[in-house]
Amino acid sequence: MISHLLKLIWNKKKAHALLIVEIWASFMVLFGLATLIVVNVRNYREPMGFTYENVWAVGLKSNQDTVAIAEKLQRVTQRLKAYPEVESVSRMSSNFPFSANTMNNGIEYNKRKVMADFYATDENFAKTLDIAVTEGKWYQYADSVGKYTPLVINQKVKEELFENENPLGKIIGEKFKVVGVVNTFKSKGEFMSDKPAVFELFKPDATWNDTVLVKVKPGTDAVFEAKLVKEIAAMMTGWNVEVDYLTDSRKNQHNLVLVPIIIALIVSSFLLINVALGLFGVLNLSIAKRRGEIGLRRALGATGNGISTQFIGEIWVLATFALLIGLLFAAQFPLLNVFDVKSGTYVTAILIAMLIIYGIVTLCAFFPSRQAAGIQPATALHEE
């Protein structure tokens, strides 16, 4: 059966070459789109690792003020804690969750290296963002008396640096001591991949950690915010005080990811509709041209189902040809590791793209093939 179909296709190779190119190109578009979506869906399914509702990021900038910065920052933090509307306060570096800032550094343990995002925070960070500590505990100022800075790492760092060892109490880079492990921490939102992240406790007198995360009670509104900004600005002349809601910043980060995907999705689906319509038209025409052949087959006893199976079979063989060529191209991505994406993602994307292609060609061939099945041998042969 298949060898017969192959022969039929080979006899019309010129006409079919264009169809194959078309299906191949559609496959490439679908492969790209599917990869993009699979990557983001995979990321989305991993937990973010913290909560952001009712958390505000208060950015403080000292501008030309250079006197006693650390004391002033501490005083602001104390003042913020004292408001009855505030549940919890934590000061950290400027790369607060969903912000555009990043800070990364290489860390090394036993000759294994990893690039990790660094977050300098104080002891209330986990409490403010509801981060669950899976091993050990979150650092406290009380137990950082030694010469090592306490460090909390995420699961990813643990896997890459320590594999099966217990990371608690280990010294990294002669400066840091691991005291706790958290699960995931995706600071750029749900669509970010789970990257290595470490949290270090900054010294109370550090001057550059100028963002304060404030968790307010639910229902607190801009009236309190205006009051807060006014009082803090009055406390610190010449400083900038700016409040960002983490929910707003999260939306911005999401738009950065979602808008390109949505545009790609719209354009690709129009392209595919276009291709599907074209395919339908071409198949319709080719079946109209082969009425004589169909009539003869019917006259010799082929069933209607047999005829429609033949046409669908033909288009499947064609699609398989095109997909094989497409696979040659698509396989380069996991083999050469062009982008930093797991090969499993590519395989899923290839499978999805193949399924959709087979679906489209079947859909396009179904109606013309049913029409072909309904051809009466007498009329078809009479026309000849």
Binding site: A15, L18, L19, V21, E22, A25, S26, M28, V29, K61, N63, Q64, D221, A222, V223, E225, A226, V229, K230, A233, A234, G238, W239, N240, V241, E242, V243, D248, V259, V267, F270, L271, I273, N274, V275, L277, G278, F280, G281, V282, L285, S286, K289, V338
Partner: protein, 415 residues
């Protein structure tokens, strides 16, 4: 003759509405995407309000510092002092303005919070850019010298901040982060996609919190250098580079010693693409590879589709072609006829695409996805679209025409 071809093409179009629909759908869709894309690119990089002189302006956006062992580097805007010393002093330029890049702040009106972008600029900013003043006037050198707390606001901010926005607001008071500013002018807002000029509130650089006093190399300021003419730009770039070359190395910034310093005055687009164009070849190959692939798919796929349908539909007209051939029409004439027909159809598709593009652009402009977007179909976009139309028509017409001209007369007439 041409009119005849077009008449025939029109009849062919009407004969099978379904195939006509497929053909026109493909053409108009592709052209719409391309036109919206060109319009958007033009919106991003063309000379538009308030940077209408962008084509004769050079931008200084980034300073790149690197230490001798290449382990640490620092990139970003520069200090006010640096730009005053090395950019403001250019003799070949018509005018130079120094402004902060992107700053954000909040203002509060009752229980309402307004997120806003602020900019600290010098007085030349208003000459280099072409902001339209709806009320009042810009601040001048006198305001700056006095250190006045004055502000120029946009019409949009005015609408949000003042209760009665139909009244003039010049002379009224605006409070931002506990500091009171006097409104001196109101300008028409500009789109967020123009970071050099986009802001809701503009302050003179001597207003509080502008950090213009910084003495290092790096800071929060960028510069726009306006030339008298487009042809003057290379001379300005040369002069700026000679100023930069005078700076003694290494530079100490924030306690780190930097042996390499790189600042360039470049046309607008290069600011953003420079790092890719001057970067390593692998990065460049990937970047252009992706652009080429996307364009190929966008144009190629519908074109292949069209060729496919056209080739299949040739047989419909076999008898017509057979008769014309039998009466002695040369292959060239037949091909020419087919190509003209195709171009005619493409232009119908192009006209539909133009209408669709107007709708899409209108939707983008009014959706608020990009604040104050002003996408337009200008002459440039239109000419590109027509060229693409022609290309498309040729591309999808040539192969079927070739196929047709090879048709055997006897066989064609048999049916």
């Amino acid at each position: 003759m041409l009119l005849n071809y077009i008449k025939i093409a029109w009849k062919v179009l009407l004969r099978h509405p379904f195939y006509t629909f497929i053909t026109l759908f493909g053409i108009s869709l592709t052209l719409t995407v391309l036109m919206v894309l060109t319009s958007f690119l033009d919106h991003l990089i063309g000379s538009h309000y308030p940077e209408t002189k962008r084509d004769r302006t050079l931008y200084v956006m980034q300073m790149h510092l690197q230490d001798s062992s290449r382990t640490s580097s620092s990139n970003g805007p520069m200090s006010f002092k640096f730009l005053t010393d090395y950019a403001k002093s250019l003799k070949t330029a018509e005018r130079v303005t120094i402004t902060t890049f992107i700053n954000s702040s909040n203002a509060y009106v009752g229980s309402q919070k307004i997120k806003l972008n602020t900019k600290f600029t010098d007085a030349d900013f208003w000459q280099v850019t072409s902001f339209e003043f709806l009320e009042g006037k810009p601040y001048n050198e006198q305001n700056i010298a006095n250190g006045d707390n004055v502000a120029v606001i946009t019409d949009d901010f005015k609408k949000h901040y003042f209760e009665n926005s139909s009244e003039p607001v010049v002379g009224k008071d605006v409070e931002i982060e506990n500091i009171h500013y006097k409104v001196i002018g109101v300008v028409k807002a500009s789109p967020v996609t123009r970071p050099f000029t986009y802001a809701d509130v503009f302050f003179p650089y001597t207003a509080p919190k502008s950090n213009y006093q910084g003495t290092g190399m790096r800071g929060g300021y960028v510069a726009m250098i306006l030339g008298k003419d487009k042809a003057d730009l290379p001379a300005i770039q040369e002069e700026f580079q000679s100023h930069i070359d005078r700076i003694p190395l290494p530079i100490i910034q924030d306690g780190t010693k930097f042996a390499v310093m790189d600042v360039k005055s470049v046309p607008y687009l290069e600011n953003f693409l420079g790092s890719i164009l001057n970067g390593n070849p692998g990065m460049k190959a990937i970047f252009f590879g992706i652009i080429f692939f996307v364009l190929f798919m966008l144009m190629g796929l519908p074109a292949i589709n069209l060729v496919n349908i056209n080739v299949s539909r040739i047989m419909e007209r076999a008898s017509e072609i057979g008769i014309r051939k039998a009466f002695g029409a040369p292959i060239r004439t037949l091909m020419w006829q087919f190509i003209v027909e195709n171009i005619f159809i493409t232009f119908i598709g192009g006209a539909i695409a133009l209408i669709l593009t107007f709708i899409v652009i209108h939707l983008i402009n009014t959706s608020g996805m990009i604040a104050y977007a002003d996408l337009t179909i200008n002459l440039y976009v239109f000419v590109i679209s027509i060229v693409v139309c022609l290309l498309f028509g040729l591309l999808s017409g040539v192969l079927p025409a070739l196929r047709m001209s090879k048709l055997n007369i006897a066989e064609a007439l048999k049916s």
